[in-house]
Symmetry: C2
Subunit: 221 residues, 2 copies
């Protein structure tokens, strides 16, 4: 059986979980407290990070590289368009969320509020939380701007870019850090992606010590 070593509130793990579910690839989810640096786990991925996917006899690391592998080996449904320009736009947006959004927002809100406590690294730094709360607004505006021109983030069909974005936003929504009233177009896009069967496992996540708000798993939030 395939195995995904993950933590529930990692946007990178969630992106891979969404891709696996969308492509109907069955997988056992195994929670890995990667910050404890278990030697067995470090052998699987010397970078010491999740996600790690055990599939086809390999232990694969790095979420974007994993998603590209799954796209190549399980091409249906397609999560990248077939033309190089369209593929570039999807990959650019994945990098936007996994790099810029992660730096500006996810690391400032989720990591301060949840990861620090989970890893025993003290209390949230209020300066960071404040910066993250400001910057998420600009990012929601950017998503809204994209969606004013396109049905989905990278074009007219749903792609990996939507999953990358939704993976980050869903983690932040778990801790009530997304103001869905800021932009109804963004809210409608998230409602569409949230109602997909692939999203169900994410909505069922429960992190001890951090109960999700009622709206988190509500499809009509």
């Amino acid at each position: 059986m395939n195995r995904l070593y993950h933590v529930p509130l990692s946007p990178f793990c969630r992106k891979v979980r969404l891709v696996l579910a969308e492509k109907k690839i069955e997988v056992d989810l195994i929670e890995e407290r990667y910050w404890e640096r278990d030697p067995d786990f470090l052998r699987r991925n010397p970078a010491g990070k999740v996600p790690v996917l055990r599939i086809d006899g390999l232990a694969m690391a790095e979420s974007q590289a994993i998603c590209e592998y799954l796209e190549e080996t399980h091409p249906t449904p397609a999560l990248l368009p077939s033309d190089p320009k369209g593929r570039h736009e999807v990959r650019r947006l994945c990098a936007w969320f996994d790099d810029k959004f992660h730096h500006d927002v996810t690391s400032k809100l989720l990591y301060e509020r949840v990861n620090k406590k989970m890893m025993g690294q003290g209390y949230p730094e209020s300066r960071n939380v404040k910066a993250g709360a400001t910057q998420i607004k600009h990012h929601i505006d950017y998503i809204g701007w994209l969606l004013d021109q396109r049905r989905w983030l990278a074009g007219d069909v749903m792609t990996l870019a939507d999953f990358a974005a939704a993976a980050h936003l869903s983690c932040l929504d778990y801790i009530s850090d997304v103001d869905w009233n800021r932009n109804t177009v963004v809210k409608d896009w998230y409602a569409k992606i949230k109602s997909r069967p692939a999203f169900r496992s994410l909505l069922a996540d429960q992190v001890p010590g951090f109960p999700p708000p009622a709206h988190y798993s509500d499809l009509d939030f």
Copy 2:
């Protein structure tokens, strides 16, 4: 004519420059002081970062997404293998260097010593420089470990993974922060890649206020 907006000592720009040169795609290099946030430049890339490549009527951002695009539109010479497992390994290692090595080493040495001064952000933080100097050793050991099993970083042929690694190391070599005597296998690998015609433009770079050491452009260093 194609245009690459770049800065000379950016590992991400250098990775793209190596790919362009290896694939013999001509390009005008335009230095972009991206930290000054020129509105014209921000229109090209709202992320406000280099590299940005103007090609085929588009302004493309994000180095890995650009390299994937170039690989798809200019497949010769191939910089990704044809099998999904091999492609995953190349992409995993690109992420290793552009994410982990960048965080552990490049941001701690190059950004502290050069970027801060260039951007008027003060003096190097010695704690960071010290951490970077320690961590580069572990990374050189990891590269050496890979090369004990393979001719090139991701397997038996040269790939984008070698360019990603060499892009970071060449920036650090420009400021004499690589101890090539630590591992002769790593040194030999770097000598091989450094002697490629694609590398010439990198070796000719000159950053005002930061003259490179003599060994930087010496193929017999």
